[in-house]
Every structure is written in structure tokens, then in C-alpha cells.
Amino acid sequence: MTNDPSDDRSLAALVLRRGDEHAFRVLFDRHTPMLSLFVRRIVGDQPHDVDDIVQETWIRAVESLERFRWESSFRSWLLGIALNVSRHELRRSQRVPLHDDAACSNGRAHAERVDLEHAISALPDGFRTVLVLFDIYGFTHEQIGTMLGIAPGTSKSQLSRARAAVRARLGSSYMELTHECT
């Protein structure tokens, strides 16, 4: 354990023990830019209020700070909370999850080249979440399985299809995807 008063753990301790606003603001400023973009990627191209989700994430984080065991990084823990809040918001908005096959049809229908970020944001929820967690934020399939309540094998297969769908939207492997989907 480091004694650096500005590290996440020391600041979190100040928030927990003293309700230290300054310490919280340091944590907030340090992690929220990453958190905000993560949430935006998880909710995809749906019209959710990212700021509301980020705020709710921080509230839940501070509320449960006492139970955090520091067995993972503060960042990973925050992302896990943000993921839960985002998924809850997606369910609450009663968005009908797209069936896996929709990725294929989306690939055919929108084969024009779009940029990578948009291709990811347009993925079905399950695919997008796994791809974002694995390919952008570096979580393992085991971690993703724990976070999403699915088997690591399911995470792998969803990642596989997510990548295919992204390729299809980017146009680079359109024919391959078309072949796989038929």
C-alpha cells in the first residue's frame, strides 16, 4: 500500500471517513472522463442521458465504498458499477434487445463504411458490451463473465460475433459475414 495522499485508495479513505469533498472531487476529475465515455459506449446510440448514469454511478460508488476490498483497481470497480447502472437504464427504458441475427441483418443493410466508434455503438446491446469491455477496456472473459453473469465461453462467442458485426459495418469483411449469417 502506498502512502501517496493523492492515490485512489487514500482519497477514497478520506471520502469514506470524513466525507471529504475535496478528495471526492479529485477522484471525480481523475476518473469521470473515462467513465463518461465508457457509459456512452455501453448505452450505444440510444438516447440515454449519460450524465445521469455517470452521476448515479458515483453515488453508488460512494455508498458502497466501505465494501470495496481493493482487490481490483478503483477504475475497474467504477467501470463495473457504471456497467450495472447502464444496463439497468437500458432495461428500464424497455429497449427490446436485438436478436443475435439482427447483427447480421444490420451488417447487410448498412454495409457502407462508417467509423469504428459508430460501428460499435450500433451493435446489439450484448455484443457491444462484451466488445467494449474486452477490446477497449481490457477485461478478460472471466471478468466479463462475472460482471455480466454469463459463462466465459458465452463472452467469447459474443465477442466473436460482435467483431464480425463491426467488420461488416466497416465493410472490410462484408462478404465473410454475409456468408456466416446465411
Binding site: 495522499p5 471529504d20 469533498e21 465515455l37 450524465d51 452521476q55 453515488i59
Partner: protein, 168 residues
Amino acid sequence: MNAHDEWSKDERAALRALPRGEPVTRTLADSTVAALHARGLLRRRTPSRALWPLAAAAALALFLGGYAFGQMRGIRAGHELAIDAMTAVPGADAARLAVVVQRTGTAYLRALDVLARNGSDGAQQAQEAALVITEAALREVTAFAPDTLTRARLARRLQSATPPSIWY
């Protein structure tokens, strides 16, 4: 997953090039802080009762620095006034005494400003006095609270030679 599923070198590079963060508005920070205050999870930034002794100690150090400087220059009126102010509050608790000491500190800072404006010699002496004050405050805080953010901040401020701004 099979080899087909793996990203190509270019695709991996494109993924790595994606931004990892985005600008966040001050409004979001403030509204989040307000929400945490409303739930009792954060406390206001005003010094808590527990910090009063620390504030008093630092203010006292400020005063002592001024006293030492005054002694050096043969000036006694300032510290005598401060002692009068301290003893004129019978039965006062630490919080009230801390206010008196802080006011003394403010008076000292004003005196420092007057000194600094008194020609080039005054500015030089004011700098020496300010250094004495800040070092004295750091020593006091180190003695009272060696492992705190307050001590670390004070040390950093002294190191960067910026005037202390923790008082008012």
C-alpha cells in the same frame, strides 16, 4: 473463437486509437457533489470542529512567526495586541480562540503587505518574514498532524514558494 475472429494489425491499431475519455462539464461535478451532500455522503468544505485545533495551531504558528520577526525588529505592539485578544475571551472554546488567532494572522498578513510596499528593503524583509511564517506553520502542523493532506499541501506550497492561501 477462431483466427478469423482476431483483429488484424490495422484493426487493433484503430481500436487503440479510440479515445479513452471525454470532456466532463463542471455542472456534472457540482450536481454529483450536491447529490452526495444531500445523501449525507459528503460534508461541506467548511472546517469541521475536529480541524479547529489544527487551524488554531497553524494560525498560532503564523502569529509566532510574526512575533519572532517583530522581536527581531524591536516591535512588540502586534503580539501584545494578539495576546490581549486571546485573554479577552474568558472561557472560550477552541473554536472561538481559533477565530481570534486567525484574525491575528490576517492582521499579520496585512502588516506584511504594508512592509512589502515600503521600498525595496521592505519587500526583501517581507519575503524573509513570510518564509519564517510559513516554515513555522509547517513545523507546527507537522508536530500536530504529520501524515495529513494539510501538512502535505503546506509543504508543497512552501516548496513552490507561493504565499499560503489557506486562511481567508
